[in-house]
């Protein structure tokens, strides 16, 4: 009797153990909304990574490369505007500065873009410090903060148009002769894709670590109510500056890579609010500003749609593609104020409730 009983218990323990292992994995991947978002983010990265095995079409590969870059840049903007709630509209400034730094270093001083990217990040971060300092010094918040960054964008465009050192109105381009790893010039699009995905993975991890930490909680507290955050001991000027600097540095590095990929940069193309909407803002807004998954999900919807609309509709009347793309953005904001990630969050909350409560 006793032996039978003991075997039963062992079986039960074994069953429980396997159950707990399975449960552990499920819990690890989908235990909280945060880890679920992280899991989905990496699934999307893997999806993009296997893409070259299914098609060799440079057109489609190009769209995937830019989707990955947009996702990474979207994350950098999400940290400033989504988590901390600072309306840094003209985020493309940092992308431009990173791009220009990289190409000037490469063309004028023959510095490898691999180093140029990082220097571009530093330059953009310094610009971030300046922007944060000025806006804090003069107490510019919300709409005034947004207007200040837009004014800065216009001023920088004029400066770069007149500045011969960076190519003036003609712009600068990458010399494509003799492709090599060290010059970050490749014949094929796949290497670009894997560099972009590396950046994206780093971006996803940085964003997740910030979100989970004290810093992230303080960022969100500032977004929700700055005065109340200060009352609880949050050094709001410091954390606002920190978020701008992190976002700027990430965007600067992304801008350097974007520059190397599109191989051409000029002031009117890059200090451009229309471009700003497409590269920086559309992705996170469609995907869900302030969520972890939003920028990645949004970029994967935004970039292909922008590209397809441009491809199919630009033959006839010029400008029709912009109308369609703009209408798409407006409707998605109207019907999904919290973005695609918001819809997924609702679904997640329903599924994670016990069956009896559904």
């Amino acid at each position: 009797m006793s032996s039978k009983k003991s075997t039963q218990t062992t079986q039960e323990i074994a069953k429980q153990a396997s159950g707990t292992l399975y449960q552990k994995i499920v819990h690890f991947l989908f235990g909280s909304w945060e880890s679920t978002q992280l899991t989905f983010s990496f699934l999307l990265v893997i999806l993009m990574a296997v893409f070259p095995f299914f098609t060799k079409s440079p057109y489609w590969l190009g769209i995937v490369v830019l989707s990955a870059v947009y996702a990474y840049i979207g994350i950098s903007w999400n940290i400033v505007s989504g988590l901390t709630g600072q309306l840094l509209i003209a985020h493309i400034i940092f992308i431009a500065l990173g791009g220009y730094t990289t190409i000037v270093l490469l063309n004028t001083y023959s510095v490898s873009p691999w180093i140029g990217l990082l220097v571009g990040g530093v330059v953009a971060a310094l610009a971030g410090v300046v922007i944060a300092f000025i806006t804090l010094r003069y107490g510019l918040k919300m709409d005034y903060f947004a207007l200040f960054t837009i004014a800065l964008l216009v001023a920088l465009r004029t400066l770069f148009l007149k500045w011969d050192y960076v190519g003036g109105a003609v712009g600068m381009w990458v010399r494509l002769k003799n492709p090599s790893f060290i010059k970050m010039v490749f014949n094929d699009k796949a290497p670009y894709l894997y560099i972009a995905l590396l950046l994206l993975v780093i971006g996803i991890i940085i964003q997740y670590l910030i979100y989970r930490s004290k810093t992230g909680k303080f960022f969100i507290a500032i977004r929700e109510d700055e005065d109340a955050a200060a009352a609880l001991g949050v050094n709001t000027p410091w954390y606002k500056t920190l978020s701008v600097v992190i976002g700027a540095a990430m965007a600067g590095i992304g801008g350097g890579f974007y520059m190397m990929y599109v191989t051409f940069i000029d002031p009117t193309g890059v200090f451009n609010l229309g471009m700003n909407v497409e590269i920086v803002m559309a992705g996170p807004i469609i995907g869900g500003l302030g969520s972890l998954l939003g920028p990645i999900l949004g970029a994967l919807v935004n970039k292909p749609i922008a590209e397809l609309v441009r491809g199919y509709l630009s033959e006839g009347t010029s400008g029709i593609s912009l109308i369609v793309y703009g209408s798409f953005l407006v409707t998605s904001i109207m019907f999904m104020p919290r973005g695609l990630a918001g819809l997924l969050h609702n679904l997640y909350q329903k599924l994670s409730k016990p069956v009896s409560e559904r």
Binding site: K217, E224, A230, A231, L232
Partner: protein, 241 residues
């Protein structure tokens, strides 16, 4: 020397003097109430003490440190924390995260902050609401959350701005018990309050403000019998009759 000493502070908005020459002290474990008709300058005085407004004259000394010119977050880190009259929860995040923001004032560690937040929430009887979004809380819980966040910063003195406003009598009793418990743990409490039941049952001392000036100070019973105070609340005709 008392823990919190306010010396002759004055705050003007243009031509209007919102607070004139106000002095008060609050010591460890003491509960001091600040009362007065609407517009008397109670909340302005709070904002000056907590660093949201810069005083035009006078100074605020907390624990031997002159905090008159410090930022709110520096004052909080020294151990003096305030709550808001109109509660200001971080709406988009859950109750636990709200309180953790406060707890992070004393630690950088996630686990320590979470433990502290859970401890405070248990202390205030909100243990079952930790996972709820702050935006979905009823008003009584929001008021409690406001206190919980402040307590999580481990303050030595706390400024409570109309914590009981908008609560039902039963809820008021709960908050009174809560404030008394806080006081017994050695925290100095300065509160602004309209609900006289709260003032009478809690306060060790009462200060009455009228048109920005202190018109009376004493134990609750002394103050409610002061003719000047009755004037301020009910108008002078009442006394004449």
């Amino acid at each position: 020397m008392a823990l919190l000493e306010v010396e002759n502070i004055t705050k003007r908005f243009g031509g209007l003097v919102a607070v004139r020459d106000l002095s008060l002290t609050v010591d460890k474990g003491e509960i001091v109430a600040l009362i007065g008709p609407n517009g008397a300058g109670k909340t302005t005085a709070f904002n000056v003490i907590a660093g949201y407004y810069k005083a035009d004259a006078g100074k605020v000394v907390y624990d031997g440190v002159d905090i008159t010119r410090l930022h709110p977050h520096q004052i909080c880190n020294l151990g003096l924390v305030r709550t808001f009259q109109v509660v200001r929860p971080f709406r988009g995040i859950n109750v636990l995260d709200n309180v953790m923001v406060g707890a992070f004032a004393r630690t950088n560690n996630n686990k320590v902050a979470q433990a502290k937040a859970e401890e405070v929430l248990d202390f205030l009887g909100m243990g079952e609401e930790v996972k709820r979004m702050a935006s979905g809380l009823p008003i009584a819980s929001r008021k409690r959350l406001e206190i919980a966040r402040a307590l999580a910063t481990e303050p030595k003195a706390i400024l409570l701005d109309e914590t009981m406003a908008g609560l039902r009598p039963i809820e008021t009793d709960e908050v009174i018990a809560m404030v008394r418990k806080m006081s017994q743990s050695g925290i100095a409490i300065l509160l602004v309050e309209h609900v006289m039941k709260v003032v009478m049952s809690l306060a060790d001392r009462v200060l009455v403000l009228h048109h920005g000036e202190k018109i009376a100070e004493g134990t609750p019973n002394e103050v409610v019998q002061d003719p000047q105070v009755i004037d301020a609340y009910l108008g002078e005709t009442n006394v004449a009759n």
